[in-house]
């Protein structure tokens, strides 16, 4: 079964049990993402951004509904989805090069076949090393091949982590606030870096961030997930996608975008869409203007009994 969409959410709910009972975090999420899209996901803290990412990764299962990867339900984490975390993405006991080719090695040799076919293993490993080194060279990390992660700066580590995930050519690259721990300069460098990588490979990226400017600058499509919204019901629980739109200004954007006059307008608009508890929008006013945007709502939420598809 193939599908036009590389990633789909259909009526996804996610709740957690805690001491006070069951808490709904994601409330009826629908989403369709085309191949090659650079999605940025924004949201106020506690809205469930990372939960959504974990559902795509497959480390957690939806309480209701389905998450599909390339037309098939998402199973536990596997090599068709790469991930870059803010921290702990790299293996501290391996050199930069070994970190990058770790996945390639695993793919061809099981735990024991490495020892059963040592000559073949050495030969293949050499090939992997060359491929990894070429990739790191292209990413400007040629000088750091044999360094250990603790010897690198934060920005360099994240570059290596991106290389480590990208060399596996995943269907989707997931990024969980990857530049959140960096200073402003390295953050800007890294933003340009990831855009360069996108231009070269046109991979599908799902990028979670809490930084508005970053989300607008990087994304081709912006999602805002928020718990601040109103419906016809008296009580709402769990976050919904309140904004799903193309980011104006083309993609990838020139750096001048960050200084452009209408960025400020755009920022205000996005902020008012649900990032700020003072600007909760009604469910009928969500900005779902992206061509692939879709959702289902219940008549109780909508108010007058109609159902929009």
């Amino acid at each position: 079964m193939s599908s036009d969409f590389i990633l789909e959410f259909h009526d996804v709910y996610k709740s957690y049990d805690d001491l006070s009972g069951t808490k709904l975090v994601l409330n009826d999420i629908d989403l369709q993402v085309r191949k090659g899209e650079f999605i940025t996901l924004l949201g106020p803290s506690g809205c469930g951004k990372s939960t959504m990412l974990r559902l795509i990764l497959g480390s957690e299962k939806p309480s209701k509904g389905t998450v599909m990867i390339d037309g098939l339900p998402a199973e536990g984490p596997s090599r068709d989805r790469g991930i870059v975390y803010q921290k702990y993405s790299l293996f501290p006991h391996l050199t930069v090069l070994d970190n990058v080719i770790f996945g390639l090695d695993l793919e061809q040799f099981s735990q024991f076949s490495r020892y059963l076919q040592p000559a073949k293993y050495r030969r293949e490993r050499k090939k992997h090393q060359e491929r990894g080194a070429a990739m790191l060279e292209r990413m400007g990390l040629g000088h750091a091949l044999y360094k250990y992660p603790h010897q690198l700066s934060g920005g360099m580590r994240q570059r290596v982590a991106i290389a480590q995930a990208m060399i596996m050519e995943p269907k989707i690259l997931l990024m969980d606030e990857p530049f959140g721990a960096l200073d402003d300069n390295s953050r800007t460098d890294m933003q340009l870096f990831i855009l360069e990588q996108w231009e070269r490979t046109h991979m599908t990226v799902f990028f979670v961030t809490h930084d508005l400017v970053e989300a607008l600058f990087l994304g081709s499509r912006l999602l805002v997930l928020s718990q601040y919204y109103t419906t016809a019901k008296d009580h709402n629980e769990g976050s919904k996608i309140v904004t799903d739109r193309e980011v104006p200004g083309g993609f990838p954007k020139p750096t001048s975008f960050k200084n452009s006059p209408h960025l400020k307008e755009l920022l205000n608009e996005v902020r008012r869409s649900g990032l700020d508890p003072e600007f909760a929008r009604h469910i009928t006013e969500f900005d779902l203007s992206h061509r692939d945007a879709m959702r289902t709502v219940t008549p109780e939420e909508w108010g007058n009994g109609q159902k929009e598809q």
Partner: protein
């Protein structure tokens, strides 16, 4: 003087000098006591002079005894074998801890048992071991192993459990199997810390060794000092004690050197 100065920086000469100070002091005190006792009674056995100890040490190390053996080396080898075999069994302690820390079913099965087992005073098991396994090597090796096994297992368990979940997710997204995550991602990362724990448990292992040898044996470092105690042979006992301590110190230093050399990636801020 800078003894109560938080910011003091003693130079290398000063550091070494101070470091040797207490050794020297102990030595001088010993010599003084030995001399004064020998003035009163030239045959004093309780505090032998250095000359006597050197003689004693020389006779056990370089002169054949009644059985045509060099006692010190025979004893050392026998004790070394016991500790060495017990140390090999600790590989299982590490693997068990690793599995308990990573695989929830292993944790459910073993954790409570190990926590209880850890509280059983191993020395109290000694009579049981002697009854169950006889007076031979088995019960001695079993005591040394049982004495430190739970500690090593629980330590490995905690370290494996503390590995960031991100590392495991990362491994899965790179196509690692669960076994590969355990053996290629987690084990190499915790190994230096686990070896450190084993290093710190050398002392306990030697303690159990000497206890087992004291109770029943016919050869071994612990056996010898308890045997010659009957003749108040301090000229043998003291060199043996120093010899045991020195071996333990060297083993410890060797392993520490190995860890530093082998695990260069282990520095602050890794990850």
């Amino acid at each position: 003087m800078g003894f109560f100065n938080l910011l003091a920086k003693p130079g290398p000469k000063m550091s070494w000098g101070l470091g040797l100070c207490l050794f020297l002091l102990a030595l001088i005190a010993y010599v003084a006591v030995a001399e004064s006792r020998h003035r009163e009674n030239p045959d004093d056995k309780v505090v032998p002079t250095f000359a006597k100890m050197v003689d004693g040490f020389y006779s056990v190390a370089f002169e054949k005894d009644r059985n045509e053996e060099y006692r010190l080396w025979v004893d050392t080898w026998a004790s070394f074998k016991r500790v060495g075999i017990a140390a090999l069994f600790l590989i299982f302690a590490v693997l068990l801890g690793l599995h308990m820390g990573l695989f929830p079913y292993w944790e459910s099965l073993f954790l409570k048992f190990m926590l209880f087992f850890d509280k059983v005073p191993a020395l109290a098991l000694l009579p049981i071991l002697f009854i169950a396994f006889g007076l031979g090597e088995t019960s001695k090796i079993a005591l040394i192993t049982i004495g430190v096994f739970p500690t090593i297992t629980l330590d490995t368990y905690l370290r494996a459990k503390n590995i960031a979940g991100e590392q495991i997710m990362k491994g899965l997204t790179l196509g690692a199997t669960h076994a590969e995550i355990a053996y290629r991602i987690v084990l190499p990362q915790i190994l230096p810390d686990v070896l450190d724990t084993i290093r710190l448990n050398f002392k306990a292992m030697i303690l159990f060794l000497i206890a087992a040898e004291a109770v029943s044996s016919d050869v071994g470092l612990g056996y010898r000092i308890f045997l010659v105690r009957r003749y108040l042979a301090m000229d043998i006992i003291i060199p043996y004690v120093i010899w045991i301590s020195l071996l333990a110190f060297l083993a410890d230093a060797g392993l520490r050197w190995f860890i530093q050399k082998k695990f260069r990636w282990r520095m602050q801020g890794a990850g």
